[in-house]
């Protein structure tokens, strides 16, 4: 079952399932959010926004609005 990255609590590791179609999609892809990518939610700024995420070997902060575009799942699906 997939959910939006925005709703994942700190310290959880998740995997990218899908990015919603929008003008932002290609930018998110370029930042490394490709399908199956492992993410770890690190911490949130006060008011819960923005969110810092470890993606690969770097840390990216993104706003809630941007995190909402990314659907993730808890289990790694093996890529074909």
């Amino acid at each position: 079952m997939s959910q939006s990255l925005e709703s994942i609590s700190n310290g959880t590791t998740v995997y990218v399932k899908h990015i919603k179609a929008s003008g932002l999609k290609v930018k998110l892809l370029e930042m490394g959010f490709c399908e199956g990518k492992e993410l770890r939610v690190l911490y949130r700024a006060p008011l819960g926004d923005p969110i810092a995420i470890e993606i690969g070997s770097y840390v990216l902060s993104l706003r809630k609005d941007e995190a909402r575009e990314i659907e993730v799942e808890m289990n790694e699906t093996l890529r074909p």
């Binding site: 930018k27 370029e30 490394g32 008011l47 923005p50 770097y58 902060s61 993104l62 706003r63």
Partner: protein, 649 residues
């Protein structure tokens, strides 16, 4: 030979640029955008080349206006910056994402150098990669390892740049071709294909040891803490401002007195005449007026440079972004706005780091409303004249409360105008944050020093020209009058002075006052009197308002000239007495509480600073924004002062 230096942000690209060019760098313009075009001449094996530092981007396809220069310069061989060789800097600790951009560049089939940078950090993070495997993946690129922060790898990079071979046709992605920047669907597809291949290849090329909690992650626990994060940030700001105030006043006083004595020294041996006057009263004080800002600019960018180099600045953005966003600002607006409390000039220049165009414009437009240090002499003088020394509620001095109120007025109005501009300024770009949080590093003093030098150089050359020109015009307007007006006035004043049996210095001041009154500026000041009368001002204030367009603190000096008293700095008791005693033609006093506060409100809002205007012109690359800024601040000043006067009288 032209060499393009490219790479993702935070890869140490500017360290590589500094390593290769040292102090031989110049700053120019990319056409049509607000990013600087930094370039430097380098000599390798007696061959001279130009190295161009492009803005850091994650993709060849532009995601903002400023990133467009990368695509434009690389996609068109007729472009003035189309390179002969491309050098891409890559963060060795972050190969996967960095390789996306590298493979895009590799597939352009230009001679290519891959600079694997920050190899030490990769090592610390226990990331290992196979260099020969990487070379096999990109057979036509020259790959070098470097660690530019500790100045390692310069020779290797230089030799790679001159030995990069002509390309014969190897592609990373089969049948890759450069897409149009508008073809988002095509770009999505291409990005997915590239990443799929990169990830496959990296499985064999790279090994990452089991994730260990990095030092940065531990530091972040404190620095972005919902409470301590803000406390620490406030503390750091306090320290920075203390340093700026403590260390800039001495060099500023020194510059001031040096230029004054230079002027009087030249006056003493040059023949009297227009040319000497132009030199000693127009040009030299004009240059002095530019140089005097250097200490503040240098100090502020020294500290900003450190914050940026260490990686702390992105944490500040992280904790401030949500708070400032509803105002149309960005987490990155914090530093420019707070810098403006010292001086709006470095504040506006610091707004450069805001990548979103709209948020940067709003920040620049409201920065001069923050109460800068040049307003202090004006406020001090006027408060001393019109605000009684009383205490309110037993503890608060009324004078101090008024000063606090003026600072609050500046800050609140800056934030309100920001909200307004957010609704007014339209942009096609959708603002996003997506900010990398680099790992903490020890700052490299060389990089900080070069940033400081560059900012000072840009200010002196680009804004300095405009400041000098305006100050010469203002000098001419204050020194000359129509036909023989001034001569008549000065002769008359001389006679009167003799009649009043004034001392030599007193009569000199008396004549100077009469001359200023009959100059073009004097005439302008008198002719705007009907317009400023509703605010409670007389023509003398009118004159000082026009002269203080040069800089706010000039108001005090102009008042001293007009009231024919010696200008001896901020606490001028003779001037205060004379101003207190001055009357309108109907006998009522000029400096009532209403008129005095109205004048302070005027100074809180009005864009009385040509240097800030010059810097805004330089930073926005057009006259449109500084003119709009001067206009809206002028209207705000007039209305604010008018309403204040009506309420208080």
């Amino acid at each position: 030979m032209k060499i393009a230096l490219l790479g993702n942000p935070n890869t140490g690209k500017s360290s590589v640029f500094n390593l290769l060019t040292g102090l031989r760098q110049h700053v120019g313009n990319f056409p049509g955008v607000t990013v600087d075009r930094k370039f430097g001449k380098i000599k390798i094996n007696d061959q001279e080349s130009t190295l161009i530092d492009f803005p850091g981007t994650y993709s060849i396809y532009p995601r903002s206006k400023d990133e467009k220069v990368v695509f434009d310069s690389l996609s068109n061989s007729d472009n003035a910056d189309y390179p002969d060789v491309v050098a891409v800097v890559i963060d060795a600790a972050n190969l996967e994402r960095n390789l996306l951009f590298f493979t895009q560049i590799y597939d352009l089939k230009l001679p290519t150098v891959l600079i694997l940078n920050m190899t030490d950090i990769a090592q610390r993070k226990a990331i290992r990669y196979k260099l020969d495997g990487l070379q096999a993946l990109f057979p036509e690129a020259v790959i070098v390892e470097s660690n530019a922060r500790i100045k390692s790898g310069k020779d290797r990079i230089e030799q790679a740049l001159v030995s990069a071979p002509k390309r014969t046709g190897d592609n990373f992605l089969e049948n890759a071709s450069l897409l149009s920047p508008e073809d988002l669907a095509g770009q999505e597809q291409e990005t997915e294909l590239r990443f799929a291949k990169i990830r496959d290849e990296l499985e064999n090329l790279q090994s990452i040891a089991e994730k260990i909690k990095t030092r940065s992650e531990k530091i972040d626990r404190i620095l972005v803490h919902p409470f301590f994060g803000y406390v620490i940030f406030a503390g750091i700001l306090m320290i920075i401002f203390q340093f700026i105030y403590a260390f800039s006043s001495f060099p500023m006083d020194f510059i001031d007195s040096t230029f004054m004595s230079l002027s009087s020294w030249i006056t003493s041996w040059m023949p009297a005449g227009i040319f000497t006057d132009l030199l000693t009263q127009g040009i030299i004080p004009g240059i002095g007026g530019v140089v005097i800002f250097i200490p503040q600019i240098a100090l502020l960018f020294f500290f900003i440079g450190i914050l940026e180099e260490t990686g702390y600045l992105s944490r500040v953005v992280f904790i401030m972004d949500r708070i400032l966003r509803p105002l149309g600002l960005n987490g990155k607006s914090v530093v420019p706005l707070l810098s403006s409390v010292a001086c709006a000039i470095p504040g506006v220049m610091a707004a450069r780091t805001i990548s979103d165009w709209k948020e940067r414009m709003i920040t620049i437009m409201v920065a001069p409303l923050m109460s800068c240090s040049a307003r202090i002499p004006v406020y001090t003088l006027l408060i001393a004249i019109v605000i009684p020394k009383e205490t309110v509620g037993g503890i608060f001095g009324l004078q101090g409360l008024v000063l606090f109120g003026l600072y609050a007025l500046g800050t609140i109005s800056a934030l309100l105008v920001a909200v307004l501009l957010k609704a007014i300024i339209k942009t096609k770009e959708k603002g996003f944050l997506l900010l990398e949080m680099p790992s903490y590093k020890i700052p490299r003093w060389g990089n900080v020093g070069i940033t400081v030098l560059e900012k000072v150089r840009v200010f002196v050359w680009d804004a300095g020209k405009i400041i000098l020109a305006i100050s010469i015009i203002l000098w001419a307007l204050a020194t000359y009058g129509p036909s023989d007006n001034m001569e008549k006035a000065s002769n008359l004043a001389q006679k009167e002075a003799i009649g009043m049996q004034l001392s030599e210095s007193e009569s000199e001041q008396f004549i100077a006052s009469a001359k200023l009154e009959s100059s073009y500026i004097g005439i302008m000041g008198k002719s705007i009197e009907p317009a400023i009368k509703p605010l409670g001002y007389d023509w003398k204030i009118g004159i000082a308002l026009i002269t203080s367009f040069a800089a706010r603190e000039v108001f005090v000096g102009s008042m001293a000239t007009i009231y024919a008293v010696h200008d001896d700095g901020e606490f001028n008791s003779t001037l205060m007495e004379k101003m207190k005693a001055s009357r309108h033609s109907d006998g009522t006093p000029v400096y009532t509480i209403a008129a005095g506060v109205s004048l302070m409100v005027f100074f809180a809002f009005a864009m009385q600073c040509m240097s800030t205007l010059a810097v805004v012109k330089r930073e926005t690359k057009s006259w449109k924004w500084p003119l709009i800024q001067m206009g809206y601040m002028g209207i705000l000043a007039y209305l604010g002062a008018w309403i204040t006067f009506i309420i208080l009288s």
